[in-house]
């Protein structure tokens, strides 16, 4: 007899419990006829209660139920999400083709020039050139460009979606209360966990699978910092804008976004770094790039391959961080004024 049988007997639920009971195997304790011992009393968990009354589901029934529920709504979710996210697949495919098919002798100078244009710093342009040369020399160039292509697309979409969400949050306290827990969850959920529902939803060969994972993970800082940046705009300046009859649109475009730009750019910098972190993990779900080499290193115990690829990721991270920080510093310098 299990510990809690007595309780079900006492409250008269025994018949209900045993309604469709199958003849069960006798447990060792049952065979021995052990009396329940107070020292070993078990917590009334689902599994332990199930032992006493078969009507109570086991824990594995709960997880299975969740899975069944998800599978049941999957067609509907797919029907909505598939066309909605299809452009993401196209964008990723396009960017991957563009970055890998463009000849290196054209793309490398273009990237160096682009970085110089953004940062207005010879030093940073030189750093970029040196790192790209390292990738070329060690034959990691194509992998690095794949990673870079994915980061470009995902960061762009994060900004495209995240800035308006952040603005909406800054305008409505209710929206902020509703969205903040979602952002907290996205940020704290272990990165592998979000891959699970995505694997169910999309085919593993589709680029949007890892694209979605990266965007969900990396969008958080740009949303948070846009919200914060706009809320931190000097209230006396906002009051002046109101006093001179600016419409809310004029206020947003003419005052709030320009003054929040340093914070928004700090968010973009964080978003880029988090995209890079996620693109490595996303190699588990077929994301190309440097992450696949790291995965190869783990799966096949190739220390050298994994180590060099890891080093290349660090270089890529430094490169992205320096260039985006330099852009941020330029904005800060242009506005170093008000305070």
């Amino acid at each position: 007899m299990s510990t809690y049988s007595g309780i079900f007997n006492a409250i008269g639920l025994r018949d209900w419990c045993d309604e469709d009971k199958k003849p069960s195997l006798m447990s060792l304790a049952n065979l021995r006829g052990d009396e329940p011992n107070w020292y070993d009393v078990k917590f009334p968990s689902l599994d332990n209660l199930h032992e006493a009354c078969s009507k109570i589901p086991q824990t594995r029934d709960m997880t299975a139920g969740l899975e069944d529920g998800f599978l049941a709504i999957r067609p509907a979710l797919r029907f909505v999400l598939d066309p909605l996210t299809q452009p993401l697949s196209w964008a990723l495919d396009g960017a991957l083709t563009a970055f890998t098919e463009t000849p290196w002798w054209f793309l490398v100078p273009l990237l160096v020039l682009g970085c110089f244009f953004i940062s207005k710093s010879i030093r940073i342009a030189g750093l970029v050139a040196a790192f790209l040369a390292f990738f070329l020399f060690t034959d990691h160039y194509t992998y690095a460009m794949e990673t870079l292509a994915i980061i470009f697309v995902c960061t762009f979409i994060c900004v495209l979606l995240g800035v308006p969400i952040g603005i909406y949050m800054s305008k409505s306290d209710r929206a902020q209360r509703a969205i903040t827990p979602v952002l907290d969850m996205l940020q704290t959920l272990p990165t592998f966990v979000y891959l699970i529902p995505l694997i169910f939803l999309f085919k593993i060969t589709e680029p949007k699978l890892y694209g979605m994972a990266i965007i969900l993970y990396a969008i958080v800082p740009v949303v948070r910092l846009t919200n914060l940046g706009i809320r931190l705009v000097d209230q006396s300046v906002i009051e002046a804008a109101n006093a001179y009859g600016l419409t809310s649109r004029q206020k947003l475009i003419g005052v709030e976004i320009p003054l929040a730009l340093p914070n928004i750019m700090a968010g973009v910098n964080q978003t880029i770094m988090m995209s890079l972190a996620m693109v490595v993990i996303a190699s588990l779900v077929s994301a190309p790039g440097l992450g696949t080499l790291v995965l190869d290193g783990i799966n096949n115990l190739r220390l050298g391959v994994g180590f060099v690829a890891g080093f290349a990721i660090v270089l890529l991270a430094i490169l992205l961080d320096r260039v985006s920080k330099a852009a941020l510093d330029r904005i800060n310098a242009a506005q170093a004024d008000n305070q």
Partner: protein, 350 residues
């Protein structure tokens, strides 16, 4: 100005109440029934901001609203252009209730009919001085050339020529506030609201700015509403002075009048430390002219202050004066009257 009664009322505040709290409307009746600010806070958790304000602001005059911090003066001025919505009452601009304006009309009113200058300047830090000054014109959609021309005109009038393309942070506080004033003047509005506009400036700059405002006012004759906590500033600028305390009007009228006849001990305390000789004018202390002008009297203008009058005769107490308005004698004055006027009423009574 003596002729206040003949002036047209530009902005009228009627029975204005502002109560801060979760459910302010029912509280108005309690306040009207005489509940005090402290009781309202203790019993109902609502803060009484403004209590039955009635002020007429006349066309072309400077109305100064004075009070200590927490008296509700900044709250009051923000009701005029509805940066704060009242709980009850009316704000009438040119016969039209501002509180009944729709959203679009309210924006138009703020762009074209009322401009505002702020204590902390509140310039847009990411825009040049000229762009800041032209704000109201830009918002109204005036062509770029107009904006530039108008902004440059007012900036040079305020002595900021050559700074058009600077950014606000490159200017000193006094210069920044002049940009703030240029921004208000550029709007070409008839009403200008100045919220402690000079309080953040150091004393000498502040005095210069007051002179500048008076000088401008002689040219442009705007209806100016000026908020301050500084009595000297209030007396220097005001045509009409409103003294606020705990959200209600303690006394309002011509500044000279308030100084000579303070309505309650609060105002007596307020005016006790004032340099009365500099503020009082001969017209306020003269005796009306009856009969002949005394022989040997010295003519003084009716707007001249007592300090200058005493200096004219080197403090000789035997002198008599005849007070003239437009070269016509209107009253007489002797040193004895001047001496009495110099002593605050409270001190004289004790």
């Amino acid at each position: 100005m003596n002729a206040a009664g003949e002036k047209r009322v530009k902005v009228a505040v009627k029975g204005l109440y502002k109560i801060f709290g979760d459910n302010p409307e029912p509280m108005v009746d309690k306040v009207k029934a005489g509940m005090s600010k402290t009781d309202l806070l203790a019993q109902h958790g609502h803060v009484l901001g403004l209590n039955d304000i009635n002020v007429d602001m006349h066309d072309g005059e400077i109305t100064v609203i004075m009070g200590l911090s927490g008296s509700g003066k900044s709250t009051l001025i923000r009701h005029l252009n509805r940066l704060i919505e009242p709980t009850a009452g009316e704000v009438i601009l040119d016969g039209q209730d501002v509180l009944k304006l729709g959203e679009q009309d309210l924006l138009e009113m703020r762009r074209k009919r009322m401009s505002m200058v702020f204590q902390k300047f509140a310039l847009f830090p990411h825009r040049t001085v000229a762009e800041n000054a032209a704000l109201a014109l830009e918002v109204s959609g005036r062509p770029m050339q107009d904006q530039k021309a108008e902004a440059n005109k007012w900036l040079s009038r305020l002595g900021l020529e050559g700074f058009e393309d600077s950014y606000p942070h490159q200017l000193s506080g006094g210069m920044q506030q002049r940009v703030g004033i240029a921004r208000a003047l550029c709007a070409e509005s008839e009403v200008m609201l100045l919220d402690e506009a000079f309080s953040a400036l150091d004393p000498i700059i502040r005095s210069q700015m007051q002179d500048l405002l008076l000088e401008l006012q002689r040219e442009i004759h705007k209806t100016v509403v000026f908020i301050t906590h500084d009595l000297d500033e209030a007396l220097k600028l005001a045509d009409h002075l409103v003294v606020l305390k705990d959200g209600y009007v303690v006394q309002q009228g011509e500044p000279q009048d308030i100084l000579l006849n303070p309505a309650d001990p609060y105002i007596e305390d307020f005016v006790a430390d004032i340099n009365r000789a500099r503020v009082l004018r001969t017209r306020s202390v003269m005796k009306p002219l009856d009969g002949e002008v005394p022989a040997g009297a010295i003519a003084v203008n009716y707007d001249q202050n007592l300090e200058d009058t005493i200096a004219m005769v080197d403090g000789d107490t035997s002198k008599h004066f005849v007070v003239t308005q437009d070269d016509q004698p209107v009253g007489v004055l002797d040193m004895h009257d001047i001496m009495i006027a110099m002593v605050p009423r409270k001190a004289a009574a004790s």
